[in-house]
Symmetry: C2
Subunit: 241 residues, 2 copies
């Protein structure tokens, strides 16, 4: 029997997105009682240096605080760790290296979903922070599968994406949803057939305004939650049945 299953969640980026991820874990798990739900320990400490500012060179690195979270989750006995924040995956190599428990990469789940679909899209729009877009993980991984990527330009990010995300962080979901809908529509107009909502604030806000194109979107955090839930249910059926 392997070590007990315990999902470590490195959260706090932001705290609302961390809750959204926990809801997705619950929704993804077929459970008839409390005891059948996935066990987790959640480090929801939002006093992490701003990731967008750090990547833009305008603020301190969040890495020391993220490493503290990884250490705490390992000490608590996490068997797997996830980070429900796309931008924080910029520091994935260092965090993964420092962790005894495997850290699942959020991008892997999205790539798997897109290439396994019955009709693989040709052009996919990516809504993400400047830092995530500059790092290029999504573009590289999708291009390698023959999928063209369409991303927001700097002016769109400044007008719609950045103020939309900060509105969500302030709890203004409708205002954020309206701004982020404009960003999404721009990518669809430029030919994107589907959209990856690669920033945890975006799906929360688009659901709040019930955006008409929601069925064309992929939420990496939701896909990650579904993957965690499958791991837990496999473990449960194998070792706890």
């Amino acid at each position: 029997m392997p070590e007990p299953f315990l999902l470590g969640v490195l959260g706090g980026m932001g705290p609302l997105a961390t809750l959204d991820f926990q809801h997705q874990l619950l929704e993804a798990t077929d459970a008839g009682s409390d005891q059948q739900h996935l066990p987790s320990v959640v480090w929801n400490v939002p006093q992490v240096a701003d990731r967008q500012k750090a990547l833009a060179g305008n603020g301190p690195s969040p890495l020391p605080q993220l490493l503290t979270g990884i250490k705490k989750l390992n000490q608590a006995g996490a068997s797997h760790i996830v980070i429900p924040c796309n931008t924080a995956h910029h520091w994935y190599p260092e965090l993964s290296h420092a962790s005894d428990a495997p850290v699942l990469h959020i991008v892997d789940t999205v790539v798997d979903k897109l290439i396994q679909a019955s009709e693989k899209p040709q052009r996919v729009g990516i809504i993400a922070t400047q830092g995530t877009l500059d790092a290029g993980w999504f573009q590289q991984r999708l291009n390698a599968q023959g999928i063209e990527t369409i991303i927001a330009d700097k002016s769109e990010l400044e007008t719609w994406f950045v103020p939309g995300c900060y509105a969500v962080k302030r709890g203004h979901l409708i205002e954020g949803g309206q701004l982020l809908s404009l960003q999404a529509q721009a990518l669809l107009t430029r030919g994107a057939q589907q959209l990856v909502l690669a920033c945890t604030e975006v799906p929360v806000a688009l659901r709040a305004v019930n955006a008409p194109f929601l069925s064309l979107t992929h939420d990496p955090a939701r896909l990650l939650a579904e993957r965690c839930s499958r791991l837990w249910q496999d473990y449960r059926l194998t070792y706890l049945a």
Copy 2:
């Protein structure tokens, strides 16, 4: 400067109620950025022996698993600990004794709210598990303040309360809300002027069906979240301003 503020949440009872409590923490906190939100570490491990069955003498004690959670939260550096589950407070003395960090008692926040109201109620209904009602914390503390308590009888609990709570645990909020509304109406009919919803499944379910008497209810978990948020905001303004 005291040790860093970090709220430890002993959750998992059940996992949905743990999320509800985290939402209440967010809602209770006036924050203009991620970094101003309350830092927490959440032990959301629902593989805890059933509290209602244990108190009824029909199952193992959850105490060893609860003590594990208390130990993990202390190791993670919790400065305060809360347990967003009324019934688990049956084991409060042992858990509080085993914890270096102070464990805030959920009943204290309710008593404070009722006796500080401009018009103190004379008769308050308590919706809770048989175990919580048998233990009598709420009745004793409220009676001591001159407030009469009205509680469900065994037959009402079996017909409405217990199946209502288990429906919520299965994710069936509407079904649970309808059953728990019948329980609440019975106490109001018998003369309760206000209701304490002393089981974390109850307020979630009554909000889901938008029960017409919601304004007469007190949610101990919400009051506990508000108290935690005040502690955090006092700390933030004093030490982090």
